[in-house]
């Protein structure tokens, strides 16, 4: 198979025009064909040639679905809960889309996607569309693919879309961040579990769920979570909670390879933005107890989701949440495109292996190589911006100046 990026480039160069075949596909999806929806999601996942035009065409038809992310440690009961949520949503007349993301083996790329096993309550009901996705080891691509799959489900007309993923690692966290409302699942008696949540996941929860609430220690876990949520709120009110994103590291990388530097400042700007929005929020995440196995507490959880959706709308935060999501999408797309350009440039220099061999023989060093490869791209960018002084595009200055205060 030819490189995916190269193919995508060729298509994109021709603009975002739909091929006839893809136009038919989009039409059938909008007309309600499950098969077309499934095929569109495959194209999105594969980053198949033309997929961008498809997503682009679907974009006009989106915006009506509530998007809910469900995450938590392995074994917390995510799939079972999502299954029961889907059932409860169907009972009140909503149509449901589920995107279940599982990790792939970093060695073979293979994956066993087992979430479907636990999603049995709604089988036989095509108005619940469940799609399993594997991480496929794409850098930053997973959240993009998930967001695009959500676009497809939204355009198809699903009322509520549930995204389910294991809460470990940055890419999974990025995945649930594509949702309007994020539920973080914890199981009882796991003091350690709550501790591990601190590393990044606590910050993203809009609703916390103590699942397996009939087990020993459930109340205590709920109390711990509530205490933690309140601590989080205090902290959010007093300062920008952006320190954990490690902007310093991002900045160092941006400074090193100038070719990518242009995207990083916006990135940091976006993250600082996050902090502001969280700071202005009046929403205090509730902690809900559920027993997914029996469906107990699921209705209360749905009510919590509804309350959060209402709070988002009333406070005007929905707009900023969605703006943030679009910003992330734009950034990811541009980064992918620039990355593809960089790959072409590397190929033009004889491929990365040849370059590495030169470093190995002591003829050069990685920094010089990177500078050589990126240099022509950089010059093109400068020419395009026309008149901008070289090296540091405008936006670089602002977040840069802000940064010291963020670190405090």
């Amino acid at each position: 198979m030819v490189g995916r990026d190269a193919d995508a480039d060729a298509t994109d160069a021709a603009g975002t025009a739909l091929s006839d075949r893809d136009a038919t596909l989009v039409e059938s999806l909008l007309a309600g064909s499950h098969r077309a929806l499934a095929r569109v999601i495959s194209r999105i996942e594969d980053r198949a040639p033309g997929y961008r035009a498809i997503v682009s065409a679907l974009h006009d038809h989106t915006g009506s679905a509530d998007v809910i992310g469900v995450t938590g440690s392995p074994g917390a009961g995510k799939s079972t809960l999502v299954d029961k949520l889907a059932l409860a949503l169907r009972d009140r007349g909503d149509t449901v889309g589920v995107v279940a993301v599982d990790p792939a083996s970093p060695y073979t790329g293979g994956a066993v996607l087992g979430d479907r096993i636990r999603m049995a309550s709604t089988v036989g009901d095509m108005d619940v569309f469940v799609r399993s996705m594997s991480a496929r080891g794409q850098l930053g691509g997973l959240s993009m693919a998930t967001a695009d799959a959500v676009t497809a489900l939204d355009a198809f007309g699903k009322d509520v879309i549930l995204i389910e993923t294991v809460g470990a690692g940055q890419s999974e966290i990025d995945v649930v961040r594509t949702a309007d409302t994020v539920a973080v699942l914890v199981q009882p008696g796991a003091g350690d579990d709550v501790q591990t949540l601190k590393a990044g996941i606590l910050e993203i929860g809009d609703v916390f769920v103590v699942n397996k609430f009939d087990r020993e220690g459930a109340e205590r876990t709920r109390a711990e979570l509530e205490a933690m949520v309140h601590r989080r709120d205090e902290r959010t009110e007093s300062s920008h909670p952006t320190g954990h994103h490690g902007p310093g590291a991002g900045r160092a990388a941006g400074a090193a390879d100038d070719g990518y530097g242009a995207t990083d400042p916006t990135d940091d700007g976006h993250r600082a933005d996050d902090g502001d929005e969280a700071g202005s929020s009046t929403w205090t995440p509730p902690v809900v107890g559920t027993v997914a196995e029996t469906g107990e507490g699921v209705d209360a959880l749905l009510e919590a989701f509804d309350a959060h959706a209402t709070a988002l709308r009333d406070s005007g935060e929905l707009a900023s949440t969605r703006r943030r999501r679009h910003a992330a999408a734009i950034r990811t797309l541009i980064r992918a495109d620039v990355g593809a350009l960089a790959n072409d440039a590397i190929a033009g220099h004889g491929g990365v292996d040849a370059l590495a061999a030169r470093v190995r023989r002591g003829e050069t060093d990685p920094y010089t190589v990177a500078a050589e490869v990126v240099d022509p791209i950089e010059r093109c960018v400068e020419r395009a911006i026309d008149g901008e002084p070289s090296g540091s595009p405008g936006p670089d200055a602002d977040p840069g100046a802000d940064r010291p205060s963020e670190k405090d």
């Binding site: 499950h34 999601i41 792939a104 066993v112 096993i117 569309f129 399993s132 496929r136």
Partner: protein, 139 residues
Amino acid sequence: MSVDADERPVRCLVAKVGLDGHDRGAHVIARAFRDAGFEVVYSGLHRAPEEVVQAAVQEDVDVLGISILSGAHNTLVPKVMDGLEAYGALEDTLVIVGGIVPDDDEERLKAAGVAEVFGPGTPMAETVDFVRANLPERA
């Protein structure tokens, strides 16, 4: 990153249809497919034909592996095939069956559109190679 990362992984559904609870074979083949780099959706036990069809359509799989050890393949498999047909998914899904199937029945299943039947003791590599060699072309 290796070149392989750019290749589209084979997607397959490993499904247990009907009432038999023998899922060792399904687990082993799911694992073998995973190790071959496939993305494997596993249905879980005791699925009705229409549930399998639903999963195969929604997951848009290239390969549907049906594991049956109950002897009810003559009833269940054609129902799955009809369901796929109804969704227009039959022609680009490679359907294979694993289990204990008498020769006469094997002919009938193949006539119904099943690509191959794998009996007990089939080496994993043989099944994986068969899938690779017979993957349907995607329109």
